[in-house]
Symmetry: C2
Subunit: 86 residues, 2 copies
């Protein structure tokens, strides 16, 4: 199954009016225990870069972080209210 | 199923020596047909930001872009050779 169908799956078929949506996922597998935890700092910088391309307020951004052993997944969801566009 | 198991699934159980890996996924649903295509430019800038955190050569980076209707998914995979770390 392609990433596109994994992430958008059902939405591709629904006739709902498309909103401008951007999802950023950073998945990290740590090579060694000692390697620094840089995801929070990286996330902040990536959102700053995205804000240059998408007219975004902080309330439009939802962030979630999942950790398990050597694995971490940071998810940033940005939904632009109607009328606002990239 | 959580994003972490979706992205890392089987790898979490395998006893293979962990490599430092970073996967960046940018999924976009376009609100209106006219909105600009900024993923290629955004991808370039995001990789520049990541290079501040992870010691990465261009040959360590694999990029793939998938498009279907209003939906686009850009995937950047970075695998760090052994010995190199964040």
């Amino acid at each position: 199954m392609s990433l596109l169908s994994l992430l958008f799956g059902q939405k591709q078929k629904s006739a709902v009016v498309a909103k401008e949506r951007l999802q950023l996922i950073i998945a990290r597998e740590r090579g060694s225990q000692g390697s620094p935890d840089f995801l929070p700092a990286l996330q902040k910088e990536l959102i700053e870069v995205i804000s240059k391309y998408v007219n975004v307020d902080h309330d439009d951004i939802k962030v979630s972080l999942e950790k398990q052993g050597n694995f971490e997944v940071l998810e940033v969801n940005i939904v632009l209210p109607d009328g606002k566009s990239a």
